[in-house]
Symmetry: C2
Subunit: 163 residues, 2 copies
């Protein structure tokens, strides 16, 4: 896949001399976005790797990580995981059967049940975080100044609203 070979066309908005990358700001944003997707999604084997390491589907890994991060009621978990309450019961049942999760009564509302992670569950979630959070070598091997630039820019990009 060769990108535009008319390298150093200089239009008013966004030409970058000497890098072979030209175009309007919108075109540059699209190019960057495509590369970011490639970088992240091509590493998406991590999901399968994580699921295999924990011996459960990635959805359950996601649920476990969410529970380990913050104990919550069933309905909260279902909403945040984008699932429905009935299926979350099945998932939490499965995680509980594995000894990774426990249901505790809500202090005031006896209808609710607070789901928390056991020490084993927290450890498993940490293992998942470690696998998913390991950057690809190409990123780790980036030059220090480029990495610092990424650090600064991505901090701004994920600052608050992603709108």
């Amino acid at each position: 896949m060769t990108t535009e070979t008319d390298a150093t066309r200089t239009d008013a908005t966004g030409a970058v001399a000497g890098t072979g990358q030209t175009g309007t700001a919108g075109e540059t944003a699209e190019r960057v976005w495509r590369r970011l997707r490639t970088l992240v999604l091509e590493q998406n084997e991590r999901r399968k790797e994580t699921a295999d390491a924990l011996g459960m589907s990635f959805f359950r890994v996601k649920a476990l990580r969410r529970i380990a991060a913050r104990p919550s009621r069933m309905s909260e978990l279902a909403a945040e995981l984008g699932s429905d309450r009935p299926y979350l019961t099945v998932v939490v049942d499965d995680l509980a059967k594995r000894g990774l999760v426990e249901r505790h009564p809500h202090p005031t509302d006896r209808r609710c049940k607070i789901v928390t992670a056991t020490p084993e569950g927290a450890a498993a979630a940490a293992r998942a975080d470690a696998i998913l959070g390991t950057p690809p070598p190409v990123l780790r091997d980036l030059a220090a100044d480029d990495l610092a630039a990424l650090d600064r820019i991505t901090a701004a990009l994920t600052a608050s609203g992603e709108g």
Copy 2:
């Protein structure tokens, strides 16, 4: 979206003045990696959006895009899509029934069938590309110099092997 382009003085160890970000190169890489995952995966509603727009599962969208990009044999498609041949038969059957895809005989090997996209299929794939390739507003609104930096760095990151 204001970007503090001046607040990035880095010392020898990688500390970033004014942003509260310090640490070794590995820690910085992990932080950047986490933010990149957030940025891309939080936009993963795009998958559902694309699937809804085309009225098919995202896996079939993926298959259609792959076919539109390069006509191939069934076995090639199955391998590249990480699926098995039998299921790909079902998927291509479905896409063909929708008039998006056609099976053509291989010029030399009559066992093979070359799957190509019809004009309608190419148009649908282009629509999917448009949705998936639209960068999030926060990226499009990035300051020009930061965007140029991302352009350069991501080009290096996705140059060849992702290791």
